[in-house]
């Protein structure tokens, strides 16, 4: 992770981007929907768990560590980081 650029500066942690929220009307078990300005996204539980941790209180590295801490079983660190990359690229989350 250290090799990646733009990650180290402390400041506002990762958070849901403005206009992005969870669709509470569809919250049932296993039905987790993120509402973004350009459409909805169906999430699996892990993805939803990761995005819920994006509350501005954690940097990317802290967040990955927290997800790993909360996951029982083998943690998928690479997949988690890739997911955060895409989530940021798609404009679902912002922050450092």
């Amino acid at each position: 992770m250290g090799s990646r650029k733009k990650r180290s500066a402390p400041g506002a942690g990762l958070r849901l981007a403005p206009g992005v929220r969870f669709d509470s009307s569809e919250e049932r078990e296993e039905v987790l929907v993120l509402v973004c300005p350009d459409g909805k996204v169906q999430l699996n539980q892990i993805a939803a768990g990761i995005l819920r941790l994006c509350d501005g209180s954690r940097t990317r590295d802290d967040l990955v560590a927290e997800v790993v801490r909360r996951s029982r079983g083998p943690a998928r660190v690479v997949e988690i980081i890739e997911f955060l990359d895409v989530a940021q690229a798609r404009g679902w989350i912002d922050g450092e």
Binding site: Q42, I46, I50, R52, E79, E82, L84
Partner: protein, 671 residues
Amino acid sequence: MDANAVRHAADVLQFVRGQKAPTPGHLTTLNTAIASSWRRCALDYSMDPGRPHFAPSVIDASTLAQRRAQYADLVQITSAEIDWLYEYIAESGYALVLTDANGIVLYEKTDSTLTDTFRAAGLMAGADWSEPQEGTNGIGTCIAENRPVIVHREEHFRSCHIGLSCSGVPIRDPSGALVAVLDASTLNARDTRASLAHTMALVSLSARLIEKCLFLQHFRQGVVFRFHARPEFVNLQHDGAIALAHDATVIAVDETALWLLRVANRADLIGRRIDEIFAVSADELIDPARDTQAALRPVRDVALGRRFFSSLDHGTAGARSSKPTSSTTLSPPVLQLVPPASRKSSLTLEELAGEDPQMLRNVRSAHRIAMSRVPVMIQGPTGAGKEMFARALHAASDRATRPFVALNCAAIPEALIESELFGYRSGAFTGARKEGMKGKILQSSGGTLFLDEIGDMQLALQTRLLRVLEEQEVMPLGTETALKVDLRVICASHQNLRAMIARGAFREDLYYRLNGITLELPPLAQRTDKERLIREFLAAETSDGRPAAIEMDAFQQLLAYGWPGNVRELRNVIRTALAICDGGVVRLRDLPSEVRRSEGGHNPIPAMPCAKPAPAEREKMMQAIRECDGNMSRAAGQLGISRNTLYRHCKRLGIPLQHSHSDLHPRSPGE
């Protein structure tokens, strides 16, 4: 009266006078229940077996209405149950009948084309089928013997009934007294006593369920302790139920509870305190202030120390308490990540059912017969998930810990199926493995044998399979000794087996052997719960703890596509899309072209989907590759994506790879 009837009457009389054993070939052995019934008919009721058939004795309409009112709960519960049974066995020409404890028909259901035939035989509402009235029969003899009976054709006492075959099962009230009889009767000469045994198994299951409903209804104001050795069966029809008084003494016990506790008589339990039977604190158990409803608790029985799981119904007040609504997703601001181990890649019956009405009906039926040996025939188009369903059925049965052995009769050369199924002894034929081989039938003993594409099995093998099923014995090739097996068979076919029977390609007797009930799996396009299925598969395919998501435009296309390959195709598409997408996020471009092109989606797709994607994206990648002199690993690092992902993008965006140092074998998303 025809010759058969005359001969039957003569045979019966000779038998009851003790002059002669039943005619060989006509009735080789006489079941003890039938023999004692014949004697009762001849000696106690002075009945003449040859007496011509008078109109059956039918009670008048107002008396019938009165009786129905008296048994309103029973009739209501049973009629729903009969409707369920009817779906499965009416097609084979059955009439389903509920009578009271006196043999008076309270409710019946028949195929409308057969109603007249059955009426002529006396199967109609209000008819009296008690043994003194109609002689040996499935209803009257069940009442007289106080146990389930099959009365097959010539086992009837009266000549006029020898066209009938009946399976009668008692329905008992919470005290164990017979209150009603549930009977399935057929006029079909084709049914053997053995095939009636399957019908009987289904009828018995229904009777158990009706008894459970009656029991719970009777004690709905009280406290009912429910238990089973497996936690998932508690509060289902298979569990044991014990009704308790307010001081925790046992006031009623159902049949299953007796069986689970290995107790012969209700009297051994009634009047004792629950803590004399189970190692529980009765005060704690019975205290209504405690929230005992919420959880299953492990308990051991005092007599044998075996472990059970139990729950407590606190009457109607407790039963109304709403199901806990997924608190994991609603209340806490941060979701607790599910342990990946809690999900498996094989789905349960409920997960397979989703919310589709037909699938829910299938699953309801599957649960009923899961604990029995009733053979199941699964029909459905290719890819509809027949094997998945069979596995889930196995997992829901009491055989779950034993092997599930599958054999696809279409996938294996005909010549090999025989040895695969039956196994062989060492040296049975040239090329045989030295140590011999245990066949699939033997391997599955105690568990479940799943025969996929049974319609592809050749006739000679069908005959051998039939023999195995009838005798529950298998004789490996090259041996003389038969080995006992405990078989539970589920088979599947996408072919119309009835049509195959008609043209002589499938044995009719095997069909009836295998077809205890038929479950029809609908094609995916007809399912009303595709949304949920997509989510189920997304979850199942990422059960290793990967984060994953599907963007809505891709999701809409998955919904809109026709899915000719059914559930299997859907699952493959999701699996492939997850493998090729970036960061676990499935986008439209990750779907195979035929899915992207399907009509009816909310986002109409241009004819050339690959030509569209952002030129900027293409340019960005080409630049990165140029900057890194074609070193794909470095280019990928610079772009913040994986090397494989970069290759996929290159292929998708048509970026030439001549600068690349390595060979390229990207996976086609259409696979």
